[in-house]
Symmetry: D2
Subunit: 363 residues, 4 copies
Amino acid sequence: MAGNSFGQLFKLTTAGESHGPALVGILDGVPPGIELTEDDFVFDMDRRKPGTNRFTTQRQEDDRVRILSGVFEGKTTGTSLTLLVENTDQRSKDYSDIADKYRPGHADYTYDKKYGFRDYRGGGRSSARETAIRVAAGVVAKKILQQMFGTQIHAFVSQIGNIQADYDLENLDISFINSNDFFTTNAQAVEQFDALLREIKKEHDSIGAKVTVVATNVPVGLGEPVFERLDADIAHALMGINAAKGVEIGAGFASVAQKGSEHRDLMNREGFVSNNAGGILGGISTAQPIVAHVAFKPTSSIQLPGMTINRQGEEVEISTRGRHDPCVGIRAVPIVEAMLALVLVDHLMRDYAQNHLLPKQKI
Amino acid sequence: MAGNSFGQLFKLTTAGESHGPALVGILDGVPPGIELTEDDFVFDMDRRKPGTNRFTTQRQEDDRVRILSGVFEGKTTGTSLTLLVENTDQRSKDYSDIADKYRPGHADYTYDKKYGFRDYRGGGRSSARETAIRVAAGVVAKKILQQMFGTQIHAFVSQIGNIQADYDLENLDISFINSNDFFTTNAQAVEQFDALLREIKKEHDSIGAKVTVVATNVPVGLGEPVFERLDADIAHALMGINAAKGVEIGAGFASVAQKGSEHRDLMNREGFVSNNAGGILGGISTAQPIVAHVAFKPTSSIQLPGMTINRQGEEVEISTRGRHDPCVGIRAVPIVEAMLALVLVDHLMRDYAQNHLLPKQKI
Amino acid sequence: MAGNSFGQLFKLTTAGESHGPALVGILDGVPPGIELTEDDFVFDMDRRKPGTNRFTTQRQEDDRVRILSGVFEGKTTGTSLTLLVENTDQRSKDYSDIADKYRPGHADYTYDKKYGFRDYRGGGRSSARETAIRVAAGVVAKKILQQMFGTQIHAFVSQIGNIQADYDLENLDISFINSNDFFTTNAQAVEQFDALLREIKKEHDSIGAKVTVVATNVPVGLGEPVFERLDADIAHALMGINAAKGVEIGAGFASVAQKGSEHRDLMNREGFVSNNAGGILGGISTAQPIVAHVAFKPTSSIQLPGMTINRQGEEVEISTRGRHDPCVGIRAVPIVEAMLALVLVDHLMRDYAQNHLLPKQKI
Amino acid sequence: MAGNSFGQLFKLTTAGESHGPALVGILDGVPPGIELTEDDFVFDMDRRKPGTNRFTTQRQEDDRVRILSGVFEGKTTGTSLTLLVENTDQRSKDYSDIADKYRPGHADYTYDKKYGFRDYRGGGRSSARETAIRVAAGVVAKKILQQMFGTQIHAFVSQIGNIQADYDLENLDISFINSNDFFTTNAQAVEQFDALLREIKKEHDSIGAKVTVVATNVPVGLGEPVFERLDADIAHALMGINAAKGVEIGAGFASVAQKGSEHRDLMNREGFVSNNAGGILGGISTAQPIVAHVAFKPTSSIQLPGMTINRQGEEVEISTRGRHDPCVGIRAVPIVEAMLALVLVDHLMRDYAQNHLLPKQKI
């Protein structure tokens, strides 16, 4: 199937390039009767927005979400919802010299080979600008989850370079996370990340990051064996974010060095006593918090010159000027939340359709 | 959509429980004219088969694949292909005492909560027995890839516990890998893994593993932005294997600590000079080798007793007897290959449909 | 997507050729807890079975449905259900002389052109033999509908050639319909159809038929605008049956000559006062009976010789011997019921997923 | 899956209500390199546009299509294409008195029952206004077909009320069809339809119509057995148009009264000698012209008063004022073409993906 749709029952279809007139998303399958206004999008769009702190792109976009359909008298109608974000700060001239050169680490080369030519302005469709619509759709998904089960989804930056932020998943200070420049968990991490990023900027270089996300009050039973397991679909959602290179559920790669007696989460009458599973067993949610981690590579657009080729196959040097984050992982925080929320609503609907039609029969 | 199908144009649909009469797979979208016999499946089925070495389950299955449709006079006809594997060694009695108890680390609890009751014999549908059909389908996918582009897919065990196997992706000794007990890369690793596994067995415990997979001669241009990127779909495929807890593409989680100048793969006229990307940029294959890693948790079924609850919510102790691998990751090797192969063929078809209808226009 | 699956949440995937070892269906998305045994299939399989009366194919098949997965202790488990029907009466020799000639009105020519070669034995995958699995799956769908809403689906032959059977949709004698040779509504029609068919047989010719289907106690609200409207999906389901050439909903083609004041179904406090809509408005069920009609072309396999070409493009004469129905529409009755039932269950799940998650808010 | 998408590889997703700010369509899977400008849409949008002749709605819309993404330097890029049509003539006040009453023959009742409330202005999402985007997408589909195979798709009004227009499918005068008020085939039909419609208007009533569509130069081999047959998917596409009540392929319902010796299309070395099949055998295109007919019911919105109920279940009288076509079938002509074109491109891609990867092997 064509690749610009996400989800099956709660389905987001997107379009729009970095330097076109607008980004558009159609969200289909929204339950009717959800209160929704354009103001609901501001908080998350602001977290993703470039120019919010010193370490993210200085491009200025208003990123106001407009609702073009699917809402009547302040409530969703059950028909397809259109979300539109205009591109107001395009400055195409910044990108003119890369029309012909393949920027290392970018999709320039692969888009050209796949499609035969490309909109080279700012990456066109491959630009992370596209994620603005994902964040907008995530707002709707989070509202539904919150309204139905009190489900909360929060992401934060847990590592930049070799510096890890301490955190306790059961005691996250969400308002601290959402108000510091790095969307991280504590003041010490803020300080260390700040020092590291200053250095990276001075070197005209960039650095990778890890984002951790946790969802609480997730209902038991989400996930469709054997191929559309919840963990598989979360991996798909998170690895599909620009710059993602790895995804872990629960203990993740640490499981490789664990023994079975260590990893397995025992149960007592109050529930699970640990959460190495990250809230998912056999591909189905356990009702424990869902925990995932995503590795983001360092920004590919850096001023340090590097060797590449042009469309003619000739070797050329390139150094990206423009305005770019030294650490793309930071702005990924609301995108990670959005993608997890979209997966959860879709799975909620799928489970509901099959397993709640008839009263469950216990044998 | 219901969860027992994988892929869109090259689509595998499966059914069958651990202790039912048979496992069944229908593979739809197979190009016509591919030579295919039941003997083609033997090599891969044997690698997945329990009882192949001392460290995998001692359950004896013939695991002969029967073709029930889709092949005529030795060639695929383009119509849906049925693969059937009988369950010949079921021994239901081994599992009778777990009808009521939720085995820690297993899907017993989640299946019960999701569906209301479950086939408890050997895990039923949640058993890794199901992966036999995935391996069979992977054989067909690998034949197509090999025939069209000479694409080769090879997986191996790169780590067990804290022991890492050395390897050089450009010089893998495939016949060594496929003939040692651990499907690993070198004699030293075999020896170390053997010693570790003996100890783990003695402790009646189990251990995790990492499997690495590499695909060479992959055509450029596979992957459908922005949601069905090749990396996203590979993550979905590999995280969807039983016991998987993490997936990395290329540099994976190591990217977090990399600088942009380190991570980005520069190009010269001969191509890319490194492969931190793992063969995928912007979600599209670059024609470099695709490299991925999968973390497998330790086997949950161990003889060491542990606390759990039963269906009535009472605390009970459990210790799994039966025949179980101390390290499930080892048998996952052909499954990882199969899942990657299924993704690649599906994406090949998707790219072909959109981008090869018309001659590409270079501008 | 590959074409051998039907439905989205309640999804049937099929495989198998006329003269292969077996037909197979995997039904995914079955709600758990439905009582199901192999005996449940006998009644409908018998109605579809060749050799049941003098005017249907004399090929003898037992057509016993075997359940290979998805049922445990007599109830569905929510995991994928495998249905298998063996081909026990294949007699390949009957078909040997058509290996090279394209039978007029058959799919021989198009399969050859599409796939490059074909299983020519009895039509291979294009044979109506394939519909046996559809009927089996329809049995499961009808059980679910009956259990949830008391929904009943009944089809009958309403016309053969120019002879129309009288009927009153509100007073169908279902047991009469299901026990006469033509699955039609009254004794006079039986007599007339019998006389017509005797004549047609004598001429070694065949004749078309119309099948009418009605579903009662259908819940209001099924259908997903704007493309997966219930009427559109029913048209897809019924036109997809072998030999179908037309589908009508409610007044159908008679609407062309109706005035708006005639066609529109007025309402009073007891509901609709007529049913030109056939139970569907705006693509959504109204809770009135759903009424549809399907036109089936005359059997293409007749003994009257006709001109065709062979694979070499040479003109040749052909006359089909074998055992063939002079009127394929008769055996289509349970297939029409099955396809409608599959559509209704799928739409029930889809509506449920989106619109029953939250309590409906009346404004 | 949510219902606002059409097609699998060439996929249209739509949104927008009759009286919202705009209609939006995202067309995904468009091959790269197709020349496309906003002017390309004018001809078809004008044919669908209300107010074009005396017998269609007098609502004035400019219906200019804007391209918001997917085109760069005048050519499609292979990324998702956004089409937007603003609603410029909404006049909500016309509809204020129907907020509470269910208009007979409309979707008011079913939308209310399905979703719990609705955008009542002009039918909201259920309005035929939505088809503007289908027509726009059809323009792109027709360009692709024309460019690849010279495929031409033309629809016309073949019947209104009891008056049938004569036509010869092999000698249609397309420019006459597209320039007369009824999109019909000859001057006599124009005259008769005109007289009939004048009378119907005088009676404040409406009348049904039949639209016939023919596609020439369709490649052989399109259609995916056994469920996504080309005829089944065409039936889905055409029955999914607002007000459609019946679909025929080729001989359609006339097949019921045909004998096999009459219906089957014999072949000689120049091809088929007749076309009762309507260009499709076994669900696969034969390369003959594809011929289909669609029955459209009479407009439901008429001034003649009728009985209905309101949201409170009370009986009330209703008479629709507003501006409405007395015969909706007339404006359906470009919609029927668009839907057929969308189906053909999608099937072209599907066939290409599976059957053109490898050179076909003749045996």
